[in-house]
């Protein structure tokens, strides 16, 4: 997958700030050229602040490290928001907060790469249906973060299930649905407070049945071939737009009084994909749809980070591995529409067995609360089919593979020294139905403690309602 150039993102925002500040002066020193116009790529910057932290030692705990490793009876030291030491000889003499992890399990925080919390918030009312801009087939201009209601009670439920990071996507009605956003699962007053610092943007696209069902009666596309024509035209237009900006830059650098192209927010997002800055997450169920999209990807020279739902990934797991595309999958959802009819319970382990990137996702405000159980089901189904995968390896489906597909693996997704202290302490081995997240840390701050109801976050919606502060 193409690496997102974060240095570029940062320098671009600095540059645009400088331009705005200095444009008056430039006009006087250069007679021919107006100020160079550059697009601010981060106009809604993260204002995320971690919770207060204290140096914390989780002692004598068993762990899945999220990158395929397992250890028993180790200690993990969290300090200043990071994992600073893992081992059995950590000096605890100066640590005041020591949590006895005996017989418990520690894992990296779960990352759900497919959620609509906030954009389809509960209460499930028309008033809250902000997830799908079903007005035209290509709405790359819309950003999911502008729809998210941070008060959605679902965020707190997901937190109690050990989810520390999640990607919120637009829905799947459109060929190109708009930008997704990766957030920390810590309640904020405004969505910027929840944005994962420096996480790249994603772009939600959708294959198959949904776009044709939604647009078939209103101008098209009404077929799969119409869908593909729509993606290709959109990418072609984006290429044209990209060339226009490149020409503007070249002309400007050549000293010409160049006029910048008119901004087109649809094409701007698509250009971000062509530039390798925005990661494509494509809702595709059928193997043949995925195969077609791999060719579209090659035709326009971008990278698909993941196929989402990928119900038939098992049929083409080799091709997904070859093309370095992750598959985000359910353990066992199937049959609710024709393109989900060939769902099988061994999909995730079969993708793993082909050395392709496998992720377990939810797409559900209920499923997100128990993704550990979803991974457990997929693992056991694979084992019964003769696929030899360990529990430690299966945990990569929930954290490191998910983080890689979102472009945030340098920060989170594993229990490794230097990583953000996004960790979950489980009451029992987390592949058990009976295991529950006991403590959830985000950047070293204790965001959820099952045993301290008085400290649970309660959304504004639930204040003053039936069940306020109840065990949920």
């Amino acid at each position: 997958m193409k690496k997102v150039n974060k240095a570029l993102l940062t320098s671009v925002s600095l540059l645009s700030a400088a331009i705005v500040a200095g444009c008056g002066e430039q006009a006087t020193t250069d007679k021919k050229q107006a100020a160079f116009v550059e697009i601010n790529k981060d106009p809604f910057p993260s204002t995320y602040q971690p919770l207060p932290t204290e140096t914390t030692l989780i002692s004598n705990v068993n762990m899945y490290d999220g990158v395929g490793g397992m250890a028993q009876g180790v200690s993990v030291l969290l300090d200043n928001g990071k994992i600073v030491a893992i081992g059995d000889d950590i000096d605890a003499s100066s640590v005041s907060n020591i949590i006895d992890g005996t017989d418990k399990w520690l894992t990296p925080g779960i990352i759900d790469v497919h959620s609509h919390l906030g954009v389809y918030a509960t209460p499930d009312a028309g008033s809250h249906a902000d997830g799908n801009e079903m007005t035209k087939p290509v709405t790359a201009a819309v950003w999911a973060e502008h729809s998210i209601w941070p008060q959605d009670p679902g965020f707190r439920r997901a937190l109690a299930g050990g989810v520390t990071t999640l990607q919120i996507l637009p829905g799947s009605a459109n060929l190109v649905g708009g930008r997704s956003v990766t957030i920390k699962n810590l309640p904020g007053r405004v969505i910027q407070d929840m944005k994962f610092p420096d996480a790249p943007y994603g772009l939600k696209m959708a294959c198959g049945e949904n776009p044709k069902r939604v647009y078939g009666q209103k101008g098209g596309p009404m077929t799969r071939m119409g869908n593909v024509a729509g993606y290709r035209q959109a990418w072609s237009d984006a290429q044209d737009y990209k060339r226009a900006w490149e020409k503007y830059q070249a002309d400007y650098e050549a000293g010409k009084d160049a006029k910048p192209p008119k901004r087109d927010l649809n094409k701007e997002t698509l250009m971000g994909v062509l530039d390798g800055e925005i990661l494509v997450h494509m809702h595709c169920y059928r193997a043949d749809d995925m195969g077609t999209m791999i060719d579209v990807m090659k035709e326009f020279d971008y990278q698909i980070a993941s196929f989402q739902h990928a119900v038939e990934a098992y049929k083409i797991a080799d091709k997904l591995a070859e093309n370095n595309i992750c598959s985000a999958m359910w353990a066992d959802w199937w049959g609710f529409k024709m393109e989900a009819y060939d769902g099988i319970r061994e999909n995730v382990p079969m993708v793993e067995a082909a050395n392709a990137c496998a992720i377990v996702h939810s797409d559900s405000d209920i499923g997100i609360q128990r993704l550990n159980q979803e991974a457990a089901k997929a693992l056991s189904d694979g084992q019964r089919a003769g696929i030899d995968i360990s529990k430690a390896q299966a945990w990569t489906w929930l954290t490191s593979n998910a983080a890689k597909s979102l472009g945030i693996f340098e920060q989170t997704g594993s229990l490794q020294v230097g990583k953000n202290a996004d960790v979950v302490l489980w009451t029992a081995e987390p592949f058990s139905t009976y295991a529950q997240a006991e403590m959830v840390f985000i950047d070293g701050g204790l965001a959820y403690d099952r045993n301290k109801p008085e400290q649970w976050a309660i959304s504004d919606y639930e204040l003053g309602q039936i069940g306020e502060g109840d065990r949920k």
Binding site: K337, A376, I466, D470
Partner: protein, 424 residues
């Protein structure tokens, strides 16, 4: 004969009659009888003629006519019952040919008979039963009235006619969606329900022929259909969530005392748990539903099942169709949130059997009961555990489905010829 070849199973399947079912003995497992014998370690279940003939703690001497299934280290339970499904009425719900579970613009409401629409030729049967679901209540999922018609109780065995009990129950929706169908207000909905039951009461006393003069709000067919409901001969299931609506139903039962009520969904049931228990009403819940999907569910909590049970309410679990196989996981999560373990198993066996009045036949492992028995690799409420043997009406079914065949076709990609030539 210790093992049975696949051919022999196929033959037994083809004959498809319990008269030909073999004699089986499940030896050595932990048996949750769900009956008075409780849980038996290292016990034996003996099956003959489609029925359970013995459940024993002692080692039994069995002659060669019994096929022995070694269940040591495993767990044996009654076949799990899908408490509320649309099995047999739907293959693919969205945008794919006829879906018999949804009724639109029908002149009939209470009179609708789901049993008449059921088929066994659905991939959902094998997909569900190989995960331990051996029978189910099946009902219409949506209609253009609060009345969802009459459901059936079906087996997931090999029977050509799967309906064990036609017109097994009436379903009525008194939640938000029911009110929306009845002029958009509970004020209208409850009036309609009261009138309907009163008309059924009246209809008992007359013969409703096409010529009979009739000025009821119900059609004649619907009025007739509700007579067994008010007589208490047909269980009536109410989809309901909010506490106020549950109280309204309890008042309704004061007026129509014979109603045999079960509550379905019942997100706020815990708030009225003691009254529900006092009225001897069972519930069917989704114990994982803990979000305020609507104002009527603001009280939703993961502890709903546990709190209802604590108050003495009998709790059933499992309201899904394509994934009714996840009911054991849901029960496990109810247990993780306070429901006693045996109540978790009862939620999948004895309680749904009692709701549908079929508890003299299904839901327990004891002599005389229909032999729906599942052997599990371990605790059936654990997500990593699965059935190793599924016996329905005395016949062991093959652990095969369209999904396992798809799996087997693609376990190895054939690079030499198209995969469609691979026949697993």
């Amino acid at each position: 004969m210790r093992t049975l070849t696949i051919t022999a199973i196929a033959l037994a399947t083809a004959l498809s009659s319990s008269a030909y079912a073999e004699k089986l003995a499940l030896v050595g497992g932990t048996i949750h009888t769900m009956g008075t014998a409780g849980t038996i370690e290292n016990g034996t279940v003996v099956i003959e003629d489609g029925k359970i003939s013995q459940v024993s703690k002692q080692a039994l001497t069995l002659d060669d006519s019994y096929r022995i299934i070694d269940t040591s280290g495993k767990v044996v339970t009654p076949g799990f019952i899908g408490a509320y499904t649309s099995l047999g009425l739907v293959e693919v719900p969205s945008w794919a040919n006829t879906v018999d579970a949804y009724v639109e613009n029908s002149p009939y409401h209470a009179a609708l008979d789901a049993g008449s629409a059921v088929t066994t030729d659905t991939t959902l049967r094998n997909i569900s039963r190989i995960e331990g679901i051996t029978s189910a209540a099946t009902a219409l999922g949506a209609a253009d009235s609060m009345f969802l018609g009459q459901g059936a109780f079906i087996t997931l065995g090999n029977d050509a006619d799967p309906v064990l009990k036609h017109r097994a129950f009436m379903s009525i929706d008194v939640s938000n969606s029911g009110a929306d169908k009845m002029a958009g207000s509970r004020a209208s909905m409850w009036q309609s329900l009261n009138d309907a039951l009163a008309e059924a009461e009246y209809a008992k006393s007359i013969e409703l022929t096409p010529q009979t003069e009739w000025h009821g709000t119900l059609s004649k067919a619907d009025a007739k259909a509700l007579i067994p409901v008010i007589n208490g001969d047909m269980p009536v299931l109410f989809k309901v969530h909010r506490a106020a609506d549950i109280r309204q139903l309890l008042r309704l039962k004061q007026a129509f005392k014979n109603l045999d009520i079960t509550l379905v969904g019942v997100a706020e049931g815990w708030r009225v748990a003691e009254q529900i228990a006092a009225a001897d009403i069972e519930v069917i819940v989704n114990p994982e539903s803990n979000l305020p999907y609507a104002f009527e569910q603001n009280g939703a909590t993961l502890e709903n099942a546990a709190r209802l049970h604590q108050a003495g309410v009998k709790v059933a679990i499992g309201m899904d169709t394509h994934n009714i196989r996840l009911a054991p996981q849901q029960a496990g999560n109810a247990v993780a949130n306070g429901l006693p373990y045996q109540a978790g198993l009862a939620a999948l066996t004895t309680v749904p059997a009692k709701i549908y009045g079929i508890d003299d036949t299904l839901g327990r492992l004891q002599p005389g009961m229909q032999a729906d028995v599942v052997v599990w690799s371990g605790d059936p409420l654990e997500v990593m555990v699965a059935p190793t043997n599924v016996i329905i009406n005395g016949e062991e079914v093959k652990l095969e489905s369209r999904q396992t065949k798809l799996r087997d076709r693609y376990l190895t990609i054939d690079e030499k010829k198209p995969q469609q030539y691979t026949r697993p």
